[in-house]
Symmetry: C2
């Protein structure tokens, strides 16, 4: 890869997610060369992907050009690349656009959907981890309703209008709530010639509660909210398969549906060459020490979802969420500068800022350290926090306009099938 060598040490960062961007920002204007590699040319604000899938937001408002984030930093290089392998002996990363030597490497490659080895579910269900995936889901939902109009087979029509969400974490809960609001507010107007009351939204959770990482109060209230919205919540049910028509479970329950959204798990997006058994831990994550160093290396780090950092409070590793990623990225930046200057690094301490999820208009749950609350105020807090963490003034303004409009008009106007998912356009 065509990047000039300078006298500064070269830090290669794999991934422009929360951890990678926070780290790169910390390293800006320092005496290091930073090369950021990502397969997209934009940073994705993943917490709002479900709003893209449900037509509430345009994808462009939750994505931000990576080049722009670091445009004022002269020693910053971005390359659009798929990293294929890490050569830890020669200190090189191998990508689809060539090889690159590094002095320091930070793997911030994030996570990917975990199908727990079930290839049929992987093939037939939808994921929602990236912008294109979310747009595919948006198209599929809308295409299903268009197709429901065309069939006179009642079972087929019901299957087209049934939505099964597997996984009761924030993603599943937020998506279910948004779908329920579409069912109530938009479908009857858009499809007057369809009995949209038949549309069903199921959320299937293998454990005995939804929003497992949050307080009992939040979990209960979220379930209440979902049920008020007409979502059917199934607990202690584990999905065993989906063949494209029928969801089977470990109980007698089955679901006929054309749409399964798999939000039941994520796993670290490991890279060949840095996947030795002795440091890959549960969830396919890379075990790191309190300085984000990968076991056995002083100059190779991992941060964010891919990194499994064990603390007293989190014996299975910090949660795979935005906050630990941002905090690790920031601290790792400081630590790498310390390391280069041969000063002692400081151990990472996670500041748990709490968790939140929104279920629908005026319905959210918020767990702060000392204060847990639910309802309208929680909903405002949720919106404020998400606007605050969104990168870019324009994005914030556009999201704000959309939210105000959607709130006042009970609407979601981005219900556009721009790239059909089921059938390709004959001509574009």
């Amino acid at each position: 890869m065509n990047i000039p060598r300078t006298s500064f040490p070269r830090i290669v960062i794999i991934g422009g997610g929360f951890a990678g961007v926070a780290l790169a920002k910390k390293l800006s204007k320092q005496e290091v060369q930073v090369v950021l590699l990502d397969k997209h040319n934009y940073h994705t604000f993943q917490p709002l992907l479900y709003q893209v899938s449900t037509g509430g937001l345009e994808p462009d408002s939750i994505a931000y050009p990576i080049r722009k984030i670091l445009k004022d930093f002269p020693n910053f290089y971005f390359r659009l690349a798929n990293v294929e392998e890490i050569d830890t002996e020669k200190n090189k990363v191998v990508t689809d656009i060539g090889k690159l030597k590094f002095d320091y490497l930070v793997v911030a490659s994030g996570s990917t959907t975990n199908y727990f080895g079930n290839a049929e579910i992987e093939k037939n269900s939808m994921a929602m981890k990236t912008v294109p995936q979310s747009l595919n889901l948006r198209s599929l939902i809308l295409e299903n309703f268009e197709d429901a109009l065309l069939t006179s087979d009642l079972n087929e029509r019901n299957a087209l209008m049934n939505f099964v969400i597997v996984g009761g974490g924030p993603t599943g809960v937020e998506l279910a709530g948004a779908l329920a609001e579409i069912k109530k507010g938009i479908l009857p107007k858009d499809y007057p010639d369809l009995d949209t009351r038949m549309a069903q939204i199921h959320i299937i959770q293998s454990g005995d509660c939804i929003l497992k990482g949050m307080s009992e109060k939040a979990s209960h209230k979220a379930e209440d909210f979902l049920e008020k919205l007409g979502v059917q919540v199934w607990k202690n049910v584990r999905v065993t398969n989906y063949d494209g028509k029928t969801v089977t479970t470990n109980t007698d329950l089955t679901f006929e549906t054309a749409t399964v959204v798999w939000a039941a798990g994520v796993k670290g997006a490991t890279i060949k060459g840095l996947d030795a058994e002795d440091f890959i831990t549960r969830g396919n994550r890379i075990l790191v020490n309190e300085f984000n160093q990968v076991k056995g290396f002083g100059h190779i780090f991992a941060a964010g979802d891919i990194a499994c950092m064990v603390t007293d409070e989190f014996p299975n590793g910090l949660p795979m969420m935005a906050q630990p990623a941002i905090q690790q990225g920031e601290q790792l930046g400081d630590n790498m500068l310390r390391l280069i200057e041969e000063k002692p690094m400081e151990p990472f301490k996670y500041k748990d800022k709490g968790a939140m999820a929104t279920i629908g208009r005026n319905k959210a749950v918020v767990d702060l350290k000392r204060w847990k609350f639910q309802g309208v105020f929680a909903w405002y807090v949720w919106m404020f926090v998400h606007l605050f963490f969104l990168i870019g003034f324009r994005n914030r303004m556009v999201v704000f306009v959309n939210w105000v409009y959607n709130y006042i008009r009970f609407d979601r106007e981005a219900r556009l099938i721009i790239r059909p998912f089921k059938k390709k356009l004959k001509s574009e």
Copy 2:
């Protein structure tokens, strides 16, 4: 197709563009059944597609769900369908989702890119008539700059940074201006390690002026504006071929480029079964009388780009633009109601509201009937008119936010490669 028969006459409209939507709105709440067919589930505001291609606007802000436009009209049916054939004997349209009988038919299928029979140009160049096409162009432009970073071959790098726009109409001129502003304002910041001064923007026009349909003053001023922005304007040059690498012309001029945008012509998007030689006229348009009736039929109409309505002022047919389409759609609505009530129809009279084009910030040309002006004020008028004609309050707000932001910050933030055009994403 599964649409109930009522006692009301059924009007089938093919196409949800300016003409189709204006017509459907006129027919709403009348004693007719309206079935609108379109291959997209949204109306596209085509005049702003070039801003999507250049990252200035998100596609969702210039598209509007067709179902929403007519949600309060109980006798309105929309179907997402490709119309394959019109059976004028049995009064049926044949589509990919089934057949449909009509009492009245309005073909408002618009226009498509005219390559004048050159299959190689069609294969290798980009068009900008639909949202997906515009997004493809956006991806290609950005991918080219990413690729330019990777090559050490100077000729290849220049080809990746050269843009050839064929056609000096409003589309070509507006796109060229937008690319020139990107070159000036964004590329040097985004690609500090690339000599973006080498990027060239060419506009090739076969005639002896650009913006042919406008006043001489507008044409000259637009050319001035383009030249000030660094666009190279080639007049009296006709492109003869583009093999994916080299543009050849009828002169000695050739251009090495990875990106050709073909904006040199459009033609009517005719449909099999309604393409008899005796009424298909130049530009593949359907000749209609002053009531938009297709020759030989009393109940089959054509409106908008596809319809060639000859007037004293426009012996080759009304221009293929938004205004004639909207006006025809509206008047045709009134006329169809008159026809159904067996009242005499009124001949269409085109109210020429003028034409306008924008070249860049503070740079536009406006021709009104009595007043032609250029520059800053023209630019404000251009923006106001486009915001006014855009459908939907949310769209107007989002476009407005983007424009204010882009103006103040000299920026275009939607420079995102969401669906790569050149190479497919390995995993999304």
